[in-house]
């Protein structure tokens, strides 16, 4: 390791930033020029150009290509029709991927939202609320890879000698046999989900806690005076009042869960029956070199978010109408 090994990276950074500033200045000049001639369409075009070019070249066109590729063979040379799709729904390994993904996208959003909601209600108005919130929110700042390493040490198993993983040590303390957790299918799937839930609960807590502050205290007070029990208040007053926030949290976690790659890659590499769509897509395309199957997995992933896209766009249009 020597210093020159590192300086060339900063050289690249400097060149990149200078080039970027030059592009901004050029765009600014163009926008000024168009402004002077009072052509707002041209000004809009200049302002939108970088983003639109990036999105077309980097997202829209590749997405279309991926769709096309899913009908081609692994090396992309031969049209195979629906062969990749029939592989995805008949091959036992691929089926396992689909089943696992289904479990993930049901369990993780449900539990993250539920735990976040309960925790937000528990700490609402409590002394030290800030600290409580910060402790659970902290994992949001940790990468999925960092979180995976943290939890891999919790699940760590040693065949002989002292256990170094906390979970197995707890088993030893209560007199049970330690378990090689990450190799035990299908239970290892749930242990991987725990990592994502651990991260997402903080998100759910913060958003739902903010929503709770918006529930008028008079309503809660009125219900209490009418003799409603805490659980009745929770189900009949609190939950309906923050329903839209709950839906938003669940949907956001759902999308994050669907795209999940890092935790599976870093914890099991998809082995021992823990593979999911987003990880298998990468594995097929970049490790096994089968672009056709990789593209197919990506398309299946995309198909699962389409309902969310439709729901979100409708929601936004409705809100815009209401705002008018």
């Amino acid at each position: 390791m020597n210093i020159s090994d590192l300086t060339d990276r900063f050289g690249l950074l400097a060149v990149g930033l200078v080039a970027f500033v030059a592009i901004l200045l050029a765009l600014y000049g163009l926008a000024e020029l168009a402004s002077r001639r009072d052509r707002s369409r041209a000004v809009a075009a200049v302002f939108l150009a970088p983003a639109v070019v990036f999105l077309l070249v980097g997202l829209v066109y590749p997405a279309v290509r991926t769709f096309v590729m899913s009908f081609f063979s692994g090396d992309g040379t031969e049209f195979v029709g629906l062969e990749n799709y029939s592989w995805a729904v008949t091959n036992p390994d691929a089926l396992q991927v689909l089943v696992n993904t289904a479990m993930w996208i049901i369990i993780v959003p449900l539990l993250s939202t539920a735990v976040g909601l309960v925790y937000a209600v528990l700490i609402d108005g409590r002394r030290g609320e800030r600290t409580y919130k910060a402790l659970v929110f902290l994992p949001m700042g940790i990468s999925f890879v960092g979180a995976s390493i943290i939890w891999k040490f919790v699940y760590q198993y040693t065949g002989s000698g002292d256990q170094i993983g906390l979970l197995n040590q707890l088993l030893v303390w209560i007199g049970a046999q330690p378990v090689n957790w990450l190799n035990e299918s299908p239970w290892n799937n749930f242990l991987l989900m725990v990592v994502l839930i651990w991260i997402e609960v903080g998100f759910a807590t913060v958003v739902l806690s903010a929503a709770l502050k918006g529930v008028p205290t008079e309503i809660v007070e009125a219900a209490r005076i009418d003799g409603a029990s805490p659980s009745e208040i929770f189900w009949n007053v609190t939950v309906p009042s923050i329903r839209s926030a709950i839906v938003v949290v669940a949907v956001t976690v759902f999308i994050a869960t669907l795209k999940l790659f890092d935790i599976v890659r870093a914890m099991t590499g998809g082995h021992h029956g823990t593979d999911v769509l987003a990880h298998n897509m990468w594995d097929q395309a970049f490790r096994l070199g089968n672009d056709g199957r990789g593209a197919t997995m990506a398309v299946l992933l995309f198909a699962l978010v389409i309902p969310v896209v439709i729901y979100q766009v409708r929601n936004m249009r409705r809100q815009e109408l209401e705002a008018r």
Binding site: E32, L59, R127, I142, F144, V248, F261, M316
Partner: protein
């Protein structure tokens, strides 16, 4: 629904403790205090459960490697051993699993443009979408809004081949291959992050910019200011807090990213730290005892940024999720 945006933890009733209510019988009071106790314990249990895994890894990172291999981090309390050797090794050693300082610098070099470029381009696009009148504005906004949810997995394979083989339609070459190698591979990661960060950044900034008072813009227009002047002198200063929120979002995403860095980052020498760590954790091979220290090198920067700037992060979170 009204959610107090901008205050991270608005807790007017934070210090409220159970007080005796009028007309409350002794039994009722006892039950209320008891349920408050149970709630306290439950909140405390969740907070502790959420903190222990990270604390364990943090403690491990300062333990000698032999100790990590032989015993759990909790033995540190009865048999304290402490060393910085592992940090030294993972950062600077020329041997296997060392020299991560290089990848840490890659991460820095990737992150700066990976945040600045998409935020700048998104601000321009968001301005055009909220304050310049042109045909097709609504359609364009909805399209970008929908792109937010498209899994980036849909773009990976074609985007990588775009860099390595260029862009051809039939036999016509539109863009030749980029043929980046060595440190220059990082350019690919910049571009990929800029693309993938755009939809969310545009959506969030559009939300903020649309809320700006129209008469301020109108006044500036009447004074003869062009769009680019209004953008620079009126809008940007007003949305600085929003820019900060989005920059933190993007910073955390880029710094903590594994998938993009691993796919577009070239060989191990040019990959960002998280990508290298992810592979190290995945294989769990030789040198796993150095993982706690290596993980903390990667975790500490975003964690500090996250803790210091949490207020801005939460604001972005609420604006993005509760409104959407």
């Amino acid at each position: 629904m009204t959610v107090p945006i901008g205050t991270d933890i608005p807790d007017p009733a934070a210090e409220a403790q159970p007080v005796a209510r009028i007309g409350e019988s002794r039994g009722e009071r006892l039950r209320r205090v008891l349920s408050s106790r149970v709630a306290s314990i439950a909140a405390l249990v969740i907070a502790v459960l959420w903190t222990i895994p990270t604390a364990g890894l943090f403690i491990s990172s300062f333990r000698p490697e032999d100790d990590i291999r032989d015993s759990g981090w909790w033995t540190m309390f009865t048999n304290p051993t402490f060393t910085l050797d592992t940090y030294n090794y993972v950062l600077y050693s020329d041997s296997q699993g060392g020299g991560l300082i290089r990848n840490l610098i890659n991460t820095v070099v990737i992150t700066i443009p990976g945040v600045v470029v998409p935020v700048a381009f998104a601000a321009m696009a968001a301005y055009a979408l909220s304050w310049i009148d042109f045909k097709g504005r609504n359609f364009l906004y909805i399209a970008i809004f929908a792109l937010q949810v498209v899994p980036l997995q849909m773009a990976l394979i074609p985007l990588l081949s775009f860099f390595s083989q260029g862009l051809h339609v039939g036999s016509v070459t539109i863009m030749p291959a980029w043929e980046l190698d060595g440190v220059n591979t990082i350019v690919q990661v910049w571009i990929a992050h800029s693309i993938f960060g755009l939809p969310l950044a545009i959506f969030l900034l559009h939300n903020f910019m649309r809320e700006l008072p129209g008469d301020v813009m109108e006044a500036a227009r009447i004074d003869g200011a062009s769009h680019s002047q209004i953008f620079r002198k009126v809008v940007l200063p007003l949305v600085t807090p929003a820019l900060a929120s989005i920059a933190i979002f993007q910073f955390l995403w880029v710094w903590n990213d594994f998938l993009v860095g691993r796919t577009f980052g070239g060989g191990e020498a040019t990959r960002p730290l998280t990508a290298v760590l992810g592979d190290m954790a995945g294989t769990w091979g030789f040198g796993w005892t150095r993982l706690p220290a290596a993980a903390f090198v990667a975790i500490v920067v975003p964690l500090v940024v996250f803790l210091l700037l949490q207020r801005y992060f939460v604001r972005g979170l609420l604006a993005g999720s509760v409104k959407g």
